[in-house]
Symmetry: C2
Amino acid sequence: MATIKDVARAAGVGVGTASRALSGNGSVSEEAKAKIEEAAKELGFVPNQLARNFKKQSTACVAIIVPTVCHPFFSAMVLCCEEELYRRGYRLIVVNSQNDQTKETRMLEMIRQQRVDGIILITHYEHGEIDPALPIVSIDRHVGAGFPYVTSNNYEMSRKAVEELYARGAKNVGGVFGATAVESETGQRFCAYSEVVREHGEKERLLVKNFRHGEEMQVLEEYFARYPETDGLFTGSDMLASAAYHTAVRRGVRVPDRLQIIGFDGVLDAWEPYPKFATVRQDVPAMAKCAVELLLARIRREEVPARTEVPAFLQEGDTLRRR
Amino acid sequence: MATIKDVARAAGVGVGTASRALSGNGSVSEEAKAKIEEAAKELGFVPNQLARNFKKQSTACVAIIVPTVCHPFFSAMVLCCEEELYRRGYRLIVVNSQNDQTKETRMLEMIRQQRVDGIILITHYEHGEIDPALPIVSIDRHVGAGFPYVTSNNYEMSRKAVEELYARGAKNVGGVFGATAVESETGQRFCAYSEVVREHGEKERLLVKNFRHGEEMQVLEEYFARYPETDGLFTGSDMLASAAYHTAVRRGVRVPDRLQIIGFDGVLDAWEPYPKFATVRQDVPAMAKCAVELLLARIRREEVPARTEVPAFLQEGDTLRRR
DNA sequence: CTGTTAGCGCCTTCAC
DNA sequence: GTGAAGGCGCTAACAG
């Protein structure tokens, strides 16, 4: 494997000149540059990135920690983050933490070991004190004071979703949501639900449960066992909405005639969009872009806003009746 | 940031001893070891992984290239590969190639730049000559001579699936499959379909189409427009099976009464398993384990078998009639 | 078992 | 604009 020394020797110049020519830092005469590039091509020279990383003390790698990449929302986020990072010369390391809680903590070590330049964190777990100087941004979660995060206008859109159910004639409106151990903006979703129900003077039908991805059907069986009269349901995710739909079908409840559903996330389109779910659609590409930009700014040690809100919007679908 | 020199000085030993004690290579007296560990803790010493990578010329990172991580099969594969690699001290870099064909080629460069130690390739694209010495393994695809790959017993199980449809009373059996530009073991699926149909002396109803993930519904609309009489359908993926189910429902065709479906992959369980699809279930965790082991063996420059087959099995579900 | 030393490949001064 | 030299932090080879 040819090194820059070999190139320099072959081109009859010093290593410094070769380095400047090849990396583009500093100026080199056209003549020398041509000779060097010629020699480099000749020798099949490929700059050793490991040496560069070492020298620069940077890997141009960022890690994203998700509960599991096998999930519509998380996989969409991973896809978008990867594309945003790739565009900026960074690579993305994926870490699935759902099956191994110790992993998250061990991955935080990765920053200190310089194996990644920063971390995008989408976690369920509680962490002890994390050094707020570390380049970490999170999505929807409050990891701790000093860590910037990106989120949607959860509260506002959740209110709108519940109001929409009432406006379309639902009387017995319920809500099903996931709970997280860590303080999360997603909690706004059921807060908004409760408030709107109270404002309407109606009975609250609420299930907030800490479940693992994949257990959505059980959660909805539990919900419907408790509140079978539900004719309007707002769920904290599309997976829950889908589970609600299938549970309803199984129970012989017609959607949307006898049950209307609005989900959250709006990421199922890429999968099998049937039925087309009404949902609060988050702008995953925009959220990913924000998260990446914030993180790279943090890596450059710039100040960034603590909270960035990306607007979501209500997307109609076949699980709502005509107005 | 403390270096190993600082630790050595603080512990009153030489750097070599400190290095051996901290990395565990070579033997050190208990006494010295204790002092060194003490000093390291005291100084908050964290070994600089970048320096290690540089020295060892290895990153302990592997890349996986998939069309998109937003897909049940690929995300399952990414999850399993990540877990297998993590267990062995490796990290996984994810690259989505569907939206940028040049990416794959540029990622192959990553190996030469030493930014990753090896690559797991699940591609649709054709590549020129790739140096067969590079540590690359692929899944289902023939990247080129000399590259080992992992696959299921596609042919055998596809035959079984089609036979099953006939055995359960289907008369007009069709098949819908994705096509890839590159030679792929998945092609066995429709070869098997054709053969079994021919052996039964029946008419072939076959659609093999090169589509992007997300376009499954259109593909099935096209299929049913052409072969509306179908009462048994074997599809090359669960996404296609799901699209078939929904297309049938939309057309008022009852499943499984008037149409039976068997899919392929068996990865929807983690998503929303409704209806429970009959499918040829691939053993994704085992395939991932094989791929990782093969790749790490290649990285160690060991000889590995060119082809590794992991058995799949037929999983019954609600899209088949009782026997 | 231990301390010293010589690089790994690149970049960045620093004189020229 | 250029070449020589030093050093990033660590490991491995060597001599003690």
